[in-house]
């Protein structure tokens, strides 16, 4: 039900896609095609182990590009991943009245070497996290 609804909400035509996804289209045609498909979902939404993505909450070091206001690179498993482009940004603020459950994050879906990564700056922990990966 959920997936069908998602698909129907956005037609598969390019016009139905977010504009900022196309900002790096010259360099990354394959990823662009991938992202154009309507059934791509946030990795952080997907249950782990279904083969298409995985959840993670791993602390990572992020280099911040102050001029562009976005992550420039991050260090994961000892390897530096340079961010090619930011695909999407969103913010999450929930359950602030219940400290153990409180979430306050600014999330960035980035294209970096090796795939699509979801990075989040967690305001409560004041730390960068890798919260999802689409392989």
């Amino acid at each position: 039900m959920g997936r069908n609804t998602e698909i129907r909400q956005f037609d598969a035509l390019p016009a139905g896609q977010p504009m900022d996804l196309l900002s790096a289209h010259g360099a990354l045609p394959v990823i662009r095609e991938l992202l154009r498909t309507p059934w791509v979902r946030r990795a952080s939404d997907l249950p782990s182990g279904d083969g298409s993505g995985k959840r993670a909450e791993v602390a990572v070091d992020v280099e911040w590009d102050g001029a562009l206001g976005r992550p420039a690179a991050f260090l994961y498993k000892g390897k530096r991943h340079v961010v090619d482009t930011v695909v999407q940004q969103w913010a999450v603020e929930s359950a602030w009245w219940d400290r153990p459950r409180a979430v306050s994050r600014r999330c960035f879906r980035v294209l970096a070497r090796g795939g699509v990564w979801d990075l989040a700056y967690d305001r409560t922990r004041e730390a960068w996290l890798l919260i999802g990966v689409v392989d």
Partner: protein
């Protein structure tokens, strides 16, 4: 990414529970962000529009007035439920609270000019005032497309947020419907006035949403505009918004509106430009729209309602003739001073263009006069001889040195404000007349904005955090009426909050939220008596809506109305007028029409009246009865009408704060010399012994010492009373001293005069207001002195009013030798009545618990035929309901009815036992049947006191009276404990004046009032008014004693107070408490007397009063304000 941006979709707290932007900080914040303009678009109204417009006019930021309205669905033909399931769209739930909330699709409207503003007002008014018929028409508060298209001129529309039909359709996967809706909405507006609104709320779906809307706009050839649907000023305020929206939806957090993040804040231009980097034209459009919106509300001009004048006349000529005619009637002979003043005032009124306003007010009071409805003007209007001549006010401005410039300052063109109090009982007749006279399309009531205090903020926060209703009640209980931002200070310092549950660390978050909620707008209320009257249809000036009490109310409060230049009249109800009218009527019934003169027209020279006031025998007297006033009376010893004016003026927060009373009293009694720094002040301050009490005196001094004109002097006084910067103060000081020296004053004297004015100007009282009140005070005092029984009956019949409870008013009349007769079905009316040639008051029945209006009518009708023989006769003829009949029996209203086998009337216990049997027989047989029902009485309790017809002991009788009537008819409760109190060394109130100052005393009394007004020291002091069988006791509880005894005062009703008597001419008579202990009243036989009214007040009876308050264990109840 750089460039300007203007937010065109902003919700303030006037979106009522769906916005946390405070208007006082909005414009400043926008200016700080460097934005050239800002729009305000609250839900379904312009509630905050005028104050927002004024704030923006005072800053280099253009204010754009608009609203987010709810419109009917237009993307499909027919109703939503006619659509196949796949094509339906869920209608967004209401957001906000009250009238601001309506289920439907949102649309953002901005007023481009005054035409757009008027159309928006009309459109909103039509939507709000439409009946909720639930039929085929659109639902209430929803704007139909027909209205939208007819009234779209001058408006710019944005397609709305995600709750607009265009956005919601796209989100629901119905692009065809979005297109259809956009096309139809677009057709309602002129070309170029409809924009597709892009909102990027930083959710994962936002980019797709923006892209889809942009494509739709491109396909339809419509412009796009970016907004952020702002609901709070800063990101951290999102929590406040979550709290408000969840409480608005009556659900605990999380808010049902489902906002997933904190991104709806007022973002900077660069943040917005970055968000909409792909569509910079959407940001450019905000600037373009802001430049197109140029609304001018024309503040500073006045708009008077139509006044019909005879052909060839003008409003001014008519007003002049009426004023001169009035002067002839008021002054016999006409004096040169009165002529000079009328000429001067009429010239100013003509110059300012206010003649119509005076005629409107005169029209209304003339109607009241013609119908015999008592009224009195008050406030600074009393400074005018024209209002006096027109019969609007009753205090002679020449006699009392009242200055017109204090009312109307020619140098400051401000709408005059004439307040008139009408007889409460007949106020509705006046209101009806206003609607008939000016037309219902031209009249509406003024709104008030209800904001959060500590109590309501705690309740709001607690509800949002999911606490159960019982917990919410316990957390908000015992909190005084203070600002929410002081909640922590209150909990730490107030004695009644010593054990308050909010002190627990678990409520830290709740207190944080409470502090932030301080003064947040909660909902719209209705002004007590303010009416707007307009020349044009009123809905072209202000949006209207239904108030909860069923009247049409403007969305603007009194300040907004004044700013718009509309005429506002306060039609206030004053219960004292009702009481005076009734007392006069009762007195005339007894002694004849001619024997009782009209009390408002009496010469103010009755010695007996002044003696009563000076003896502090003032219970029931208008403005003179409070404990403070009684204390003042013993020190002041009023003997002229001017003294009454001074007393009314002195016991006010300003004079109290400036401690004007002590020098006034000392100088009056010759305890200190009267010294003025400048000879010019001597004649001005002669009546007040050199103390500046009245605002009018400040004007006169500025005129006499520094040569100011009265208009200049009024501006000078106003400037001194405002919050001034040091530089402004220096400027005023320099100007005053320079001009005084130029007139020949010595510099030192001029400096000293300025210093005194500076000290007193902010605290002075308007003498005209006091003089107008004094006329009513004198009338009430005269009635109390000469017709005490009638006056007391009238006061009791018009409760709730005044400072004291009905119980105390009844005790007071008993002290004056008037007999109190118990209520009885064969003798009592609904209200209290006077018997025995004015020597007795019969208690009425309308205040009895469980009494019904129907039963009162039936009793009156049957009593006119013949008296009731016995209980059965009463029940058969009146069909009395069992609960009411039980109350009547218990309170003694059926005592002495009928005869038992023992040859005596049945006792109350026997009547109570008989009642169900009689009711059963009547139910079986109906009203027909034998005239006398003979039923053997059931077994009842043996009589306790055979000497009384009721068979009840006095304690039991008193208990029933207090419980059911809230009155002590039998005797004062403490009379039962007289022996015990004597043994404990208690002194009665009547004996205190004979004791020396500083004597240690012990007194006992029942609490009547407890007040904790602000004091100069800032420390909390409680003024406790107690009553014993001989009179009133005034007890002062300073902060250290209050710390120890605060809880006792709140939790108990009767105390024994140990303290020191203060009995001197300077400070008057009072007891300074050292220890307060609770006291349980018991009779000699050990029976306890219950002092609280055990049940809520009767539906027809008093709603307030020490003995009848349902919530009396709270400070708020203890301190219940007097309805003066």
């Amino acid at each position: 990414m750089s460039g300007p941006f203007v937010h065109l979709h902003v919700h303030s707290d006037f979106s009522f529970m769906d916005g946390a932007v405070r208007l006082d900080g909005l414009v400043e914040h926008v200016h700080r962000l460097g934005m050239p303009a800002i729009a305000l678009t609250d839900h379904q109204g312009l509630y905050g529009a005028v104050r927002f417009y004024r704030a923006s006019a005072a800053a280099p930021v253009r204010g754009i007035v608009g609203a987010e309205v709810v419109v009917e669905a237009c993307g499909v033909e027919g109703s939503e439920c006619d659509q196949p399931p796949g094509r339906r769209l869920q209608v967004p739930a209401p957001t906000g609270l009250g009238r601001a909330a309506a289920p439907g699709f949102h649309l953002t409207l901005l007023a481009r000019d005054i035409t757009g503003y008027r159309n928006l007002c009309r459109m909103l008014s039509r939507a709000h005032l439409r009946d909720a018929d639930g039929g085929t028409g659109p639902a209430r508060s929803v704007i139909p497309l027909s209205d939208l298209s007819r009234m779209s001129e001058g408006l710019i529309a944005l397609s709305g947020c995600e709750r607009g039909e265009v956005g919601a359709s796209l989100l629901a996967g119905l692009p065809w419907r979005a297109k259809k809706a956009a096309e139809r909405l677009c057709r309602c507006f002129a070309r170029g006035d409809f924009y597709i609104e892009l909102t990027h709320t930083m959710t994962p779906g936002s980019p797709r949403y923006v892209a889809a809307l942009t494509d739709l706009a491109d396909a339809l050839g419509l412009p796009v505009v970016a907004t952020n649907d702002v609901h709070y000023l800063r990101r951290e305020d999102a929590r406040l918004h979550d709290v408000l929206s969840s409480v608005g939806a009556r659900q605990p957090l999380p808010s049902p509106l489902g906002r997933p993040n904190a991104e709806l804040y007022l973002k900077s231009a660069s943040e917005m430009r970055r968000l909409f980097a792909g569509v910079p034209r959407a940001c450019d459009a905000t600037i373009e729209i802001a430049e197109r919106c140029d609304l001018d509300l024309g503040l500073g001009t006045f708009h008077f309602p139509t006044v019909e004048v005879p052909r060839g006349e003008t409003p001014y000529s008519v007003l002049s003739k009426l004023a001169w005619r009035g002067i002839e009637e008021r002054y016999r002979p006409v004096t040169p001073e009165s002529v000079r003043r009328v000429q001067h005032e009429l010239a100013v009124i003509e110059d300012l263009g206010f003649a119509e306003y005076f005629l409107v007010v005169r029209d209304v009071v003339d109607f009241a006069r013609s119908k015999g409805i008592r009224f009195s003007g008050r406030g600074s209007a009393g400074d005018s001889i024209v209002t006096y001549a027109l019969g609007i006010t009753d205090a002679d401005p020449v006699e009392h040195d009242l200055l017109f410039e204090r009312f109307l300052n020619p140098a400051r063109r401000q709408m005059p404000d004439i307040d008139v109090d009408f007889d409460s009982a007949r106020r509705d007749e006046v209101i009806d007349y206003i609607y008939r006279r000016f037309g219902s399309d031209h009249v509406a009531m003024v709104a008030t904005v209800c904001t959060m205090t500590a109590k309501s903020a705690v309740r709001t926060a607690a509800k949002a955090l999911g606490h159960a209703p019982d917990r919410v009640n316990s957390l908000s209980r015992d909190l005084p009426w203070v600002s929410a931002r002081h909640i922590r200070e209150v909990l730490a310092t107030y004695p009644e909050c010593r054990n308050h549950p909010l002190k627990s660390p678990e409520y830290g978050l709740l207190l944080d939220i409470t502090e932030q909620l301080d003064h947040c707008a909660m909902h719209l209320g209705t002004h007590l008596g303010g009416f707007i009257i307009t020349r044009e249809p009123i809905d072209t000036w202000t949006p209207l809506q239904w108030a909860a009490k069923g009247v049409v109310v403007s969305q603007y409060d009194k300040d907004d109305v004044e700013a718009l230049g509309l005429v506002k009249m306060d039609i206030l109800g004053l219960r004292m007028h009702s009481a005076i009218s009734e007392a006069v009527s009762l007195a005339r019934e007894r002694v004849g029409e001619a024997a009782v003169p009209e009390p408002f027209l009496l010469p103010h020279d009755d010695k007996a009246v002044y003696s009563a006031i000076a003896a502090a025998d003032t219970v029931g007297m208008f403005q003179l009865e409070s404990s403070g006033q009684r204390n003042l009376a013993t020190r002041l010893r009023e003997d002229t009408f001017s003294d009454i004016i001074a007393a009314i003026s002195l016991f006010r927060p300003g004079p109290l704060e400036a401690d004007m009373i002590v020098p006034f009293i000392r100088r009056r009694h010759g305890l200190e010399p009267v010294v003025v720094p400048h000879p010019g002040m001597g004649p001005i301050l002669r009546d007040t012994y050199g103390v500046v009490i009245y605002q009018e005196q400040v004007l006169q001094i500025a005129k006499a010492v520094a040569g100011f004109t009265l208009a200049e002097a009024d501006s000078f006084r106003r400037a001194m009373t405002k919050d001034r910067s040091r530089a402004e103060m220096e400027s005023l000081h320099g100007e005053f001293v320079r001009r005084a020296c130029a007139l020949g004053s010595e510099r030192a004297a001029a400096e000293e005069v300025f210093r005194q004015l500076e000290g007193f100007a902010a605290y002075g009282f308007n003498k005209a207001h006091a003089a107008c009140f004094a006329v009513v005070s004198y009338a009430s005092a005269w009635l109390k002195v000469h017709y005490p029984a009638e006056f007391a009956a009238a006061i009791l019949n018009n409760e709730p009013m005044g400072f004291y409870s009905p119980r105390l008013v009844l005790d007071d009349v008993r002290h004056h030798g008037i007999r109190i007769l118990p209520p009885h079905v064969n003798a009592s009316d609904a209200g209290c009545s006077v018997e025995e040639e004015g020597r007795a008051v019969r208690v009425g029945l309308k205040g009895l618990h469980r009494m019904t209006e129907r039963l009162l009518c039936a009793m009156e009708t049957e009593l006119a035929v013949r008296p009731f023989d016995d209980l059965a006769d009463f029940l058969r003829r009146t069909r009395a309901e069992a609960p009411a009949a039980e109350s009547l029996i218990r309170v003694g209203a059926c005592d002495g009815l009928g005869v038992t086998d023992a040859g005596r009337p049945p006792t109350r216990d026997e009547l109570l036992a008989l009642l169900p049997e009689l009711k059963a027989v009547l139910a079986r047989e109906g009203p027909a049947g034998e005239r006398a029902l003979v039923i053997a009485p059931s077994r009842a309790r043996p009589a306790q006191d055979l000497s009384h017809v009721s068979g009840w002991s006095p304690v039991r009788r008193l208990g029933a009276e207090l419980e059911l009537l809230g009155l002590a008819v039998t005797c004062h409760p403490l009379e039962f404990a007289a022996v015990d109190l004597k043994r404990r060394g208690v002194t009665w109130a009547r004996d205190l004046p004979r004791l020396e100052d500083r004597t240690r005393v012990r007194v006992a009394g029942v609490r009547e009032r407890a007040q904790t007004p602000p004091t100069r020291s800032g420390k909390r002091t409680c003024f406790l008014t107690l009553e014993d069988p001989t009179g009133l006791l005034d007890v002062v509880v300073f902060s250290d004693a209050l710390e120890r005894s605060g809880e006792t005062i709140v939790k108990h009703r009767c105390y024994i107070v140990d303290g020191v008597l203060q009995n001197n001419a300077e400070r008057g008579l009072a007891i300074v408490a050292e220890d307060i202990a609770p006291y349980t009243v018991r009779s000699e036989h050990g029976e306890a007397v219950r002092l609280r009214r055990g049940v809520g007040a009767a539906p027809l009876g008093p709603l307030r009063g020490g003995a009848g308050h349902t919530d009396e264990e709270e400070w708020s109840a203890v301190e219940a304000t007097s309805a003066q």
